[in-house]
């Protein structure tokens, strides 16, 4: 897993636990990370922790509040507040696996990453390798999320990942993933049908 060693980081870690972590980035760096994208953090021992972006959060501060309540805001004020503010954009990441000594696992890592560890986007080959590993068990971490639009997250993830597999002629990956989702969710009728609705929409795009 050295291909992305020299990729540009999209953020640095603010806080972390085993199952999720939050990185911060500047607004100007925000054009690359996207909801559902596979990201990773490299630890000191060279192991890597993989995660999916589940939420991108832009916090307010007192200045924004004052500006919002103002009658009219000059354009340069808006731009300044957006791009030069001291508050980072928060990128919330759901941990979905790790790699140690080049071996991928879809379990949670033994330890979370540390603050200021760099967050990188995975490249296409890496996405293919991680998501096709084993029997796609990483998907269970997504379904575990509560109080979040899981269906949308899935749709966003699949919209990015499905074409990557299909580019290499692997149409079975998506079929297998659909079956996996049905297996995991079939005891929850409302949730599964919503997920399938989203997948159907995605296919009709």
């Amino acid at each position: 897993m050295t291909e992305t060693h020299q990729s540009i980081p999209i953020g640095k870690l603010l806080r972390a636990e085993n199952s999720q972590f939050v990185a911060g980035c500047r607004v100007r760096e925000l054009d690359t990370p996207a909801l559902g994208a596979l990201v990773k953090v490299r630890l000191e021992d060279q192991s890597e922790i993989y995660g999916l972006i589940t939420k991108i959060l832009i916090n307010d501060d007192s200045l924004v509040r004052q500006l919002v309540s103002g009658v009219s805001i000059p354009t340069e004020y808006t731009a300044d507040n957006r791009y030069n503010r001291n508050l980072p954009v928060e990128i919330h990441v759901l941990t979905v696996g790790f790699a140690k000594d080049g071996k991928i696992s879809h379990r949670l890592p033994p330890r979370p990453p540390l603050s200021l560890d760099e967050l990188h986007l995975c490249d296409e080959a890496e996405v293919r390798r991680f998501t096709a590993f084993g029997d796609q068990a990483y998907i269970r971490h997504i379904l575990r999320l509560v109080d979040q639009p899981v269906e949308e997250l899935l749709a966003a993830h699949l919209r990015q990942t499905k074409p990557l597999h299909e580019q290499t002629g692997d149409t079975g990956w998506y079929a297998q993933l659909c079956q996996k989702l049905i297996t995991l969710l079939r005891d929850d009728y409302p949730r599964l049908t919503t997920v399938l609705d989203v997948l159907t929409e995605l296919e009709h795009e």
Partner: protein, 575 residues
């Protein structure tokens, strides 16, 4: 009809796995193949540890892990492949399997446990009634040819006789004819269900195997002479034509003939062979009163075996003038005899009047040319088979009188032979199957106590005599007789009462009832009862040319003139 192409003897694939159930409530099996690949009544095997279980599919049920999945049309809401995945994971079919038999098969031949197991089990065991159940998730397969042969035997064209084949895969299903004749049995089915062809097939099997004699009361001249099928208009060979030496065709009354075919001998019954018991058994049909018994007793006391003839010759209403000029019954009159015998003359005259229907039966004769009754018994005891054709005497009275009379003689003869065998152990009596058509006429609730047949059904197997009853209305047959039937082979039956009658006294009636009700109107039959290891619906064998080729081997064609000359050594080339 039977599949002409037999499936090769390869192991059947797994069709599902056990998910629940038990002995009482049937096993539940989750089907992993489309439901159309399995039919109600399918014979399945379930391997679990060292045991193999044999069962019968009694129901198929569509179900879902959540009824919402079944209630909406997934294919309309979701992308087609998603709907397919969803349906395959959430909708399924459950089989209800009635476990019937089990057999200890032991570990796999190549497993390390096998030698130790074999030491403890030196002989292969036979299947026994099911006493336990397979484990959860035991794989379920449709029985293959070998499984069916394990249970029903392997056809040998002798006592293990093929009656048909399984409906799904066409594997042969056999009947053990030795067991079949040990108890009374029945063949049932509505008109046109192929009942009489099935009876012919089984009778041909019995005659060919030749382990028992058969006496066929052929009311409609169907079994002896060749006939034409009423449905297909095809010619159907009779048993006489096919088993000429083994079968004797007996015609009732002098001068009976069956087209070109002449009977081997005719049956005329001597008046002296008719007992008062025979007449009493006709009480219902002759509408005899309660006083009949007394009158008949008096007749028998006075005239012994000549009573029938003597009574026939008495005149009704014949009077003479006495010395005092008064009219009184003439000495040859019924009234004269009645007065002498102390019987009410009115009752005697009424009986004489009612018996007139018997007196004018042409086959009843004071001095018949031959003793047909004795010849029938001798023929049967010599190991041959008799088809008694009623010819033109098709009335119920003829049928009741003659069958009762002959059967009573048979009972006497076989009881005697059995007693002798028990004493001197020299000659075991030849098993005899008495084939009765339209059996409800003889074995209905009212008649069953009067006719000899219910006794045969109940008790005569100890004396080597059993019944094979052929009928379209089993519900009309006395329950006590029905419950005695060992083997029952039933074609399609429309009436609920008939279905219940066929199943009377058998375990697992609930599941079998549906199976019986849904048989195809033709060709499909359900075999069940004591004589078969487990109930099984089958596609019956066809009574056609192939049947006879299977039985006798390929026919030998007659030689033409050239072949004959060559065979005899008159070859033209020789000079």
């Amino acid at each position: 009809m039977e599949n002409s192409t037999q499936t090769p003897n390869e192991p059947s694939p797994v069709i599902g796995y056990v998910t629940g159930g038990g002995l009482e409530a049937n096993l539940q099996v989750r089907l992993t193949v489309p439901p159309q690949e399995v039919q109600e009544g399918a014979f399945v095997v379930i391997d679990s540890n060292n045991w193999r279980f044999y069962g019968l599919v009694t129901d198929l049920q569509l179900t879902a892990i959540d009824e919402h999945y079944a209630n909406q049309l997934n294919s309309q809401r979701f992308a087609p492949h998603l709907a397919n995945y969803l349906n395959s994971q959430t909708l399924y079919t459950n089989l209800a399997v009635m476990p019937v038999l089990m057999n200890e098969k032991g570990p796999e031949l190549d497993s390390p446990e096998y030698p130790a197991w074999r030491l403890l089990h030196t002989e292969d065991s036979d299947p026994i009634s099911v006493k336990t159940i397979p484990n959860h998730h035991s794989p379920v397969k449709l029985a293959d040819k070998a499984d069916i042969a394990d249970i029903f035997g392997e056809e040998n064209n002798q006592n293990i006789f093929r009656v048909g084949s399984t409906r799904e895969q066409g594997h042969p299903v056999c009947l053990n004819l030795d067991k079949f004749v040990q108890r009374s049995s029945g063949i049932f089915g509505t008109t046109g269900s192929g009942k009489s062809f099935l009876a012919r097939i089984i009778l041909a099997g019995l005659i060919h195997a030749d382990n028992a004699s058969t006496l066929i009361f052929d009311m409609h001249n169907e079994y002896g002479p060749d006939t034409t099928s009423s449905d297909t208009k095809a010619s159907a060979p009779g048993l006489k034509g096919k088993f000429n030496n083994k079968v004797r065709l007996v015609g009732l009354g002098a001068g009976t003939s069956f087209g070109k075919l002449q009977p081997d001998f005719t049956l005329e019954i001597a008046h002296s062979d008719i007992t008062t018991e025979d007449v009493l058994q006709l009480s219902q049909i002759l509408n005899l009163k309660e006083t009949t018994g007394t009158t008949l007793d008096a007749l028998e006391n006075e005239f012994r075996e000549d009573w029938f003839n003597a009574f026939m010759n008495m005149k009704v209403g014949s009077m003479i003038e006495n010395d005092e000029g008064k009219l009184e019954p003439a000495p040859d009159s019924v009234a004269f005899w009645a007065r002498q015998a102390g019987i009410h003359s009115g009752a005697a005259e009424a009986l004489r009047g009612k018996l007139a229907r018997l007196f004018n039966r042409p086959y009843l004769n004071n001095s018949p040319a031959s003793n047909g009754l004795k010849e029938i018994i001798n023929t049967l005891q010599a190991g041959r088979h008799v088809v008694l054709s009623f010819g033109k005497y098709e009335s119920e009275l003829d049928y009741l009188l003659v069958t009762n009379l002959i059967t009573r003689k048979i009972r006497d003869a076989w009881e005697k032979a059995t007693t002798e065998f028990q004493i001197n152990k020299i000659k075991e009596p030849r098993p005899l199957v008495v084939v009765v058509e339209e059996a409800h006429k003889l074995l209905n609730r009212e008649m069953a106590n009067q006719t000899i047949f219910s006794t045969i059904a109940r008790e005569m197997r100890k004396y080597y005599v059993t019944l094979l009853i052929i009928d379209q209305r089993p519900s009309q047959i006395y329950d006590e007789v029905m419950s005695q039937l060992g083997t029952r082979i039933s074609g399609s039956l429309g009436d609920e009462d008939d279905i219940n009658a066929v199943l009377s006294g058998l375990p697992g009636r609930g599941g079998l009832r549906g199976m019986l009700a849904k048989l195809q109107p033709k060709e499909e039959v359900l075999m069940l009862g004591w004589g078969v290891p487990m109930p099984i619906p089958i596609r019956s064998r066809r009574y056609d040319q192939q049947f006879w080729i299977d039985i006798f081997g390929a026919e030998r064609k007659p030689m033409d003139m050239d072949q004959a000359s060559s065979f005899l050594g008159f070859d033209d080339d020789s000079d």
